[in-house]
Amino acid sequence: MDFNFSEEQTMIRDSLARLLRDQYDFETRRKVAESDTGWRPEMWQQFAELGLLGAAFSEDDGGLGGNAIDSMIIMEEFGKALVVEPYVPTVVCAGGFLKHAGTAAQKEEHLTAIIGGESVFAFAYAEPRGRYDLHDLETTARKDGGGYVLNGHKAVVIGAPWASHLIVTARTSGERRDRDGISVFIVEKGADGITTRDYPTVDGRRASEVYFENVSVPADAMIGEEGKALPLIERVVDEATAAVCAEATGAMGVAQTMTVEYSRQRKQFGVAIGKFQVLQHRMVDMFMEHEQSISMTYMATLKLDEDDVARKKAVSGAKVRIGQGGRFVGQEAVQIHGGMGMTDELAIGHYFKRLTMIDSEFGNVDYHMRRYTALSGEGQKVAAE
């Protein structure tokens, strides 16, 4: 057992932390989030130059030979600075699909462009009626000659306004909630028949509603096997969930330290409010939530390559704990800041908002609790037999 980071990993963390400190302070982040585009393509290029976009890929795939631990480190730092750029959709999701199931030609075309920072992806999986179920799909991909024709509506596709490409989950056969019959496609966002409605999100990012109307894609746009992609999707989404847990952990840590710091500065009744025991214990609880989030993020990240059941349980366990912890830390951070916590001006409220919204990314506490208990039940059945 070893919880130490390698030299390379420590270097990634340090150089990223430095970059963010120098160029991603809160005021800059605010300006960017409120700008027309909502992100900084030049920052993305710097991420590419630092090697962040290739850190988690093997050398065979053109990366630096790292793995999900690198993504975890990067996302934790991103969480600390409330980075809006689309690392999860591009590197973890699109990169994950390509890494696990891409053909040599697909990797050649897309992975290289992802690692180099040329292609930016959004992951179009959620639908208006599907909530968090990855297999609840009404978007269809109909076979047509040598290729497929896509029709449907994807909801709240994070990062889509910035994307050059989309990863789209669609039904090639079966009924709306069947687990079979699901396929994954790479689609150029500019393809004929795609309409988007772009908008900001409440936590300072951008997203789109994406509509597909008879969008033709060639056969080699498909990643993985036709109709059998659900296990692949689940795996990639688990990896993305672990990455988002790391982000939440980073954000929680900052929210917690900012709150302690504020409680030292802010005086009421002649003393620093940090002297009030009721607040002290609350901040201790925030601290414990943060520590446990670190633990759960490590645990889930280290189990991403285990068998499906172990992986799912690990990720769901982490997302439950972190959803609950993030809510607690965010709410208390605002509360202890008093009126200042309610202002747009202070960073603390933005950490609260990001922590709030992370709960509903890739399944909220209830969703993951349900998945976790269902899997535990299965484990017991096997043991009893």
Binding site: A126, P128, R129, G130, R131, Y132, D133, D136, A155, V156, I158, R176, R177, T195, R197, D198, Y199, P200, T201, V202, D203, A207, E209, Y211, K267, Q268, F269, G270, F276, V278, L279, R327, Q331, V334, Q335, G338, G339, G341, M342, T343, D344, E345, G349, H350, F352, K353, T356, M357, S360, N364, D366, M369, R370
Partner: protein, 398 residues
């Protein structure tokens, strides 16, 4: 002890309901209270009620109160919640109004009470300062007597909706040498158009403009604007805080909120079935309703006590704490119910006027901002920590 409504009360409910249905402005139906409405829209219902004589039910009848029993007031707030009416703002009706009729001079009553009652004059509350929040008595804004005027200098903050205000009531230090900080404070009214008053917006985390900084520089107000006696302002402020708290439970609104949550959960799907059929979610709604019932009956007990002459005491802290916890939980569950469509930021939507590609269901648009915004309720009106301190001290005697 019984829970029945008398035939008169049933009749009263009918009358009230019919009045609201007939008179509530058509264009405000289904809109609900929102701080980004225009001043006219926010005052519309208040003014209609003013004409009817129903805008200040709790005031003594001589000043325009209705003389309703606690049960009637309860029915009144339920019926308003049912229609999501935009009720009169508290600053005039529940805060400064009662202070003026209790402690103000006859001239002051004649000058200010009608405007408050009729919804013609908009009031704001200038208590808090950057350095004086929970510890309000440490406030630094000064009012110095100069002939027939007080000259006010200082900074107030978090002044709710001061951008629309015609008048403000301010706590100012008039005796810097008083032996206790509470003793040198006065309660002074100021016309917001007086030179030297500057109101600057503070944007909140939900993106709204609800609070402001209010800067006061050499603001000259006539001495007649002093309420009651000089240096007795703290007593009046405490009186007011007790009033503020008793309205803060928000039971009827929360009940309506639970209904709305049920509606949303009937539309939203979980695993292909209505969310409302999910045991887990149903349990959460159930818990909320049970907590709300406990609050409701606690409030009814308090109101009944008040009707028998017991003033709202430290028990009203229970209503503040529990009422706000429920309001917060309600918005939390609503956000949970809407799933992915909690993310879009409605205020930031491109205004292309087209609804060809709607962004999620209408009810989801404010879910996240409402949740963010309601965090304020455990901070303002005496934070929930301060309320617990009050109970600790005044009731538990610790």
């Amino acid at each position: 002890m019984n829970l029945e409504f008398t035939p008169e009360e049933v009749e009263f409910r009918k009358e009230v309901r019919a009045f609201i249905e007939e008179n509530y402005p058509k264009h405000l139906r289904g809109v609900g209270a929102r701080e980004d409405l225009s001043r006219d829209d926010m005052l519309a219902w208040h003014q209609i009620l003013g004409e009817k004589g129903w805008s200040v039910p709790s005031w003594p009848e001589e000043y325009g109160g209705t003389g309703w029993t606690p049960t009637q007031k309860y029915i009144w707030s339920e019926e308003n919640a049912r229609m999501d009416t935009i009720m009169p703002l508290p600053f005039g009706v529940s805060m400064v109004g009662p202070v003026i009729y209790t402690f103000g001079s006859e001239e002051m009553k004649a000058k200010h009470l009608p405007g408050i009652r009729e919804g013609k004059v908009w009031w704001c509350q200038g208590y808090s300062e950057p350095g004086a929040g929970s510890d309000l008595a440490s406030l630094k804004t000064t009012a110095v007597r100069d002939g027939d005027h007080y000259v006010i200098n200082g900074q107030k903050t978090w002044t709710t909706l001061a951008q629309h205000a015609d008048w403000g009531f301010f706590l100012c230090r008039t005796d810097p040498n008083a032996s206790k900080p509470q003793e040198g404070i006065s309660f002074i009214l100021a016309d917001m158009n007086t030179p030297g008053i500057e109101v600057k917006p503070i944007k909140t985390i939900d993106g709204g403009h609800e609070v402001n900084e209010t800067w006061l520089t050499d603001v000259r107000v006539p001495v007649e604007n002093l309420v009651g006696e000089e240096n007795k302002g703290w007593t009046y402020a405490k009186f007011l805080l007790a009033h503020e708290r008793s309205g803060i439970a928000g039971v009827a609104r929360s009940k309506r909120g639970v209904e709305r949550l049920r509606e949303i959960a009937s539309t939203e799907l979980l695993e292909g079935r209505p969310l409302i059929q999910d045991d887990e979610f149903l349990r959460k709604i159930g818990q909320l309703e049970i907590d709300l019932t406990a609050l409701e009956f606690t409030e009814l007990r308090t109101l009944a006590g008040e009707a028998q002459g017991k003033g709202p005491g430290p028990e009203s802290s229970i209503l503040k704490v529990k009422g706000t916890e429920i309001q917060q939980r309600l918005t939390e569950l609503t956000l949970e119910a809407v799933g992915h469509y909690g993310h879009p930021y409605f205020r930031g939507f491109p205004e292309d006027g087209s609804n060809e590609f709607p962004i999620g269901p209408e009810y989801a648009h404010q879910a996240a901002p409402n949740y963010f915004n309601m965090r304020k309720t455990s901070i303002y009106g005496g934070s929930n920590e301060i309320q617990r301190n009050i109970i600790t001290k005044m009731i538990l005697g610790l």
